[in-house]
Amino acid sequence: MRTTTLDQTRAPIYEALENFRKQRVVPFDVPGHKRGRGNPELTEFLGQQCVSVDVNSMKPLDNLCHPISVIKEAEQLAADAFGAAHAFLMVGGTTSAVQSMVLTACKRGDEIILPRNVHRSVINALVLCGAVPVYVNPEVDHRLGISLGMKLEQVERAIKEHPNAVAVLVNNPTYYGICSDLRGIVKLAHEHGMLCLADEAHGTHFYFGKDLPVSAMEAGADMASVSMHKSGGSLTQSSFLLAGPNIHEGYVRQIINLTQTTSGSYLLMSSLDISRRNLALRGEKIFEQVKEIAEYARNEINSIGGYYAFGPELINGDSIYDFDPIKLSVHTLDIGLAGIEVYDLLRDDYDIQIEFGDIGNILAYLSIGDRAQEVERLVTALADIRRRFKGDKNGLMSQEYIPPEVVKSPQEAFYSKKVSKPIMETEGMVCSEFVMCYPPGIPILAPGEKITADILRYIQYAKEKGCSMTGPEDPEIEYLNVLVES
């Protein structure tokens, strides 16, 4: 583990809240529930302890928009723990971190190089700022039907073809745990005067575990968005934005303040503070245990027969440069069920909620809170599902990556004149909104992309199999907004 220079046993926001509680300050400020007294039902539900620290910014507790005391110290401790020059506490989810990162790097008309299998928050940021995506089509594993990382030579080609691009964005790792050669990409980007940004929504543990893929800050990336609330154990919606030494801290703060609440939640901020302390002090041991559980689960699932729980054996030195061993993804098509069908069975019949199921795979999220006994339940339920439903895979579609045809920039398409059409009549038109399965939230269509027969077939199939589709204005996804021909 990295050596830190500050005292990582400290948790300044948490300590300030504890002091504040002891002082029994009389509140004539917001929030109006006044330590829960004004909302007894909420207090009963969440607990007195919780509502008593749901407080507003004030001198002893600092202010998230302009940190000068305890929040600033907490950010310095986080930067130290993650090996970053600066760290920013984020209370709008990793979505807000990703958006701030993209908005810091790009302005209207700038090109940004990125893989197409990014989270919607990245393309949302392009809608907001008017930057233009240059997509690198990821490699695809045809057996598993999953998108892989970006090959170094593909990134290099994109950089040569778009020498004025301002940044390269990398998933580190993808939802399935696949990593590109981040050090190599950082080197290429910097050689060509571009920034390297990393979406590390699924990579918090890279900073603390042993023998895990390289983290963005260690690889020399300029900014990274880290979902502390995923593998790091903080509360949902809390996250870190990290910056390297070449990024101007004050400018990032201004960008964050464009869209961030001025009433940052102390529940979220204290959860970041306490979780950072926990990982800095105990992260190495914790993730060693999670890794063992994941390896055990993979072996057990692979011994059932039919399922393929894939792991680091996929590493090929390029499009799968590295693999995150704590991800537990399972390919299900060979037992005759789509991933989404297994996902639904696990929840409806077995009371087991996993992270997501798509066309060919499921992903069970393992973290700091998992124990062996729940893993036994998951493995046993998978064995029981196979016993009950085993069939052949005929008629099951394998997921394929469909290369997008970008006709207009996301911002231009989103704000253009558009018309709503029945979805099956939209082939050949240009979409002005997102369509995606959530989770994982990777767009099938993004604003400005051409709608093809393949894409429509895929959307229909995903709907039939029970994927939760989101994005379009029409919640039933019967209609799509398309650009009016000019």
Binding site: E300, S303, I304, D349, Y350, D351, A372, Q373, E376, R377, V379, T380, A381, A383, D384, R387, R388
Partner: protein, 283 residues
Amino acid sequence: MDLWFSEAHTPDVKLSIRIEKQLFSKTSDYQRIDVFESREFGRILSLDGNIMLTERDEFIYNEMIVHVPMAVHKGIKKVLVIGAGDGGVVKELTRYNRIKHIDLVEMDPLVVEACREYIPANACRLDDDRVHIHFGNALKFMRHCENEYDLIIVDSNDPYGPSEGLFTKEFYGNCHAALKEDGIMVNQQGSPFYKQDADAMQRSHKHIAGTFPISRVYQAHIPTYAAGYWLFGFASKKYHPIDDLDAAAWEDLHLRTRYYTTRLHKGAFYLPAFLEDMLKEVE
């Protein structure tokens, strides 16, 4: 000295027993294990503060979980017992000469150790040649068992602790697969009286009824369990618990029991109206 053990049956109801002394207290990897000596109930085994057995009323539980299936299926030779590290179920099973092999899967070795030392009346047959003790997770033990057992007895703790996995659909599915085509599964099914217990009982009955063609519930009165009122599940691929009872054959074995009789066997399956309704609701 006035020393009392209390177990909360609900947040508003508790059962208290005066304790003479504490004989054992250790925390294993899974739970806290205590053995107490009491005047009224003799020795008491408690796991995480819940009474598992007392010397005074264990016979009711162990006789009802063992003799009911044994009096129905005359071909039972190979038995799987899950939980039951105290040895009480095994003690009853080993009274049958026709049983040739018993696998006992207990998660926690310390339970067996404590009972061998402090509750020998229950643990006395754990060294029988037919008994094979396996320490580990039952779900894992069973994952690859198919068509192996004539009888599975699930003697679990309550469903909110380390035993939670033994009340799930995946577990009952595994039991179904591990049983032969005429096999029977009997499980402790909790109590239908207090709301939280009743909800868990309904959930597990729903899973069992969805897995086995025959699924019936029977009852017994056990003073130290919640509400003193306890249920067992009888799930089977072929035999009906009353229609296939061969009372004469069981009487011929001349096993002396203190609770179980073949008359009570039938009566135990006649349930109060509220319970019939609760079961029907999830079937």
